[in-house]
């Protein structure tokens, strides 16, 4: 029992230390952006302007221009197809109002990779 207590204590301490490190990273100017960061950033992906994300609790006040992003791996079994959709949706549907993020250089190729990974997981 005592041993368990010690383990729990050690866990708690390391958790605090870890979060401390995380805080320090937050404060640092060059924290690496995640796919979610890019997707949520209004000057980058701004996905929420048009798409709901029903499985993401902090995706609030989302727009309705495009379909909700859910069950994406089922809808896009081929991840490359999803990436191509983000890169230039008008290639598949000329009437789409979706921004051609890759074609028009709104996001970098690396950013599109990250956003694709994030969206694929929804």
């Amino acid at each position: 029992m005592r041993k368990l207590h010690q383990v729990a204590m050690a866990c708690a301490i390391s958790a605090i230390m870890l979060s401390g490190t995380a805080l320090a990273q937050n404060a640092a100017p060059k924290k690496e952006e995640t796919g979610k960061d890019i997707a949520f950033n209004r000057t980058k992906g701004n996905c929420l302007a048009c798409h709901g994300m029903p499985t993401v609790p902090d995706a609030e006040s989302t727009g309705l221009y495009g379909p909700p992003l859910i069950a994406m791996s089922a809808r896009f079994p081929d991840k490359a197809k999803l990436r191509a959709q983000i890169w230039d949706a008008t290639a598949f549907n000329p009437a789409s109002s979706m921004i051609p993020f890759g074609k028009h250089g709104v996001l970098t190729e690396e950013e599109i990779d990250k956003v694709t990974d994030f969206v694929y997981g929804l």
């Binding site: 302007a49 727009g63 221009y65 379909p67 008008t90 009437a95 109002s97 921004i99 709104v106």
Partner: protein
């Protein structure tokens, strides 16, 4: 299912675009207007066309109720009063805007923009006001300036409240200007690749983030607007904002491109009553 519906909608929009584009050379402005109204009504059969003058407010009862409450005591009345003073103050030569503009400046806003055959170009109401100024030895106002042209028209346009929008497109040169404006309206622009129509036709009544998007029909009858209650915005100021939002370089306010866009855009509201100046979010 959802995707299917959207696909159908988009196909419909594409069809509309094709219809408008393909018959461009033959379509009359009136049939363009009817075509758009038909499109909106097929999506929103319960919204009366007369209510399109309220823009996005027509699609949301709560917002409309808030608007009605604000319009009882508009927070921008001081600006309208300042505009009235500008309107009533005679030029140095003793003449006034009323003596220069047709019908004393009353019930004329719905006739603008108009195509001036002598000049061979579209003249907006703001251009006509500046023509009055220069004809009477005054300097022209800067067209996008909110303090001068903005306040003046915020008052002056109220003199046309209730008049029905009546933009005329007659003759080949006027038609060419109209077609140019129509092209601007339907052409995608900027890094973000939006046309005016992407939002205000294809997505009218839909939410962009938490904002409801207004239909293009009914847009042009109520300018200037006071956004947030005190920020005066004239129609072409707003166009400039739209261009910037899609990361396009805006044409100059008062340029032929902007004026032709206003010409096309205004004719879409023909038959709807003018109402200046109003609150918008």
């Amino acid at each position: 299912m959802r995707q299917q519906i959207i696909t159908k909608l988009l196909a419909g929009v594409a069809g509309l675009g094709l219809a408008l584009g393909a018959v461009g050379a033959y379509a009359s402005p009136e049939s363009d207007r009817q075509e758009l109204i038909k499109y909106y009504q097929s999506k929103y059969p319960n919204i009366k066309i007369d209510d399109y003058v309220y823009g996005a407010l027509a699609f949301d009862e709560d917002s409309k109720a808030q608007y009605d409450a604000i319009m009882e005591f508009p927070p921008y009345e001081a600006d309208i009063d300042a505009g009235r003073k500008l309107w009533e103050t005679p030029f140095k030569n003793g003449k006034t805007y009323a003596s220069c503009l047709p019908n004393g400046g009353k019930n004329i806003a719905g006739n603008y923009p108009m195509f001036d055959e002598a000049k061979g170009k579209v003249v907006t109401l703001n251009d006509a006001i500046n023509d009055c100024r220069t004809a009477n030895g005054e300097e022209a106002y800067k067209l996008g300036d909110k303090n001068t042209m903005g306040k003046l028209t915020a008052y002056m346009r109220t003199l046309s409240d209730g008049m029905l929008m009546n933009v005329k497109v007659q003759g080949p040169k006027a038609m060419a200007a109209y077609e140019d404006g129509k092209k601007s309206f339907f052409t995608r622009k900027g890094q973000l690749n939006f046309a005016c129509a992407s939002c205000h036709v294809q997505n009218a009544g839909t939410r962009l983030r938490s904002e409801l998007i207004s239909p293009a029909v009914g847009h042009t009858v109520h300018w200037p607007v006071f956004r947030g209650g005190d920020n005066l915005v004239m129609l072409q100021n707003r166009y400039e904002g739209c261009f910037k939002q899609v990361r396009a370089v805006p044409p100059a306010i008062g340029s032929t491109t902007m004026n032709n866009l206003e010409y096309f855009h205004s004719s879409l509201s023909n038959g709807l009553p003018m109402k200046a100046s109003v609150f918008r979010k």
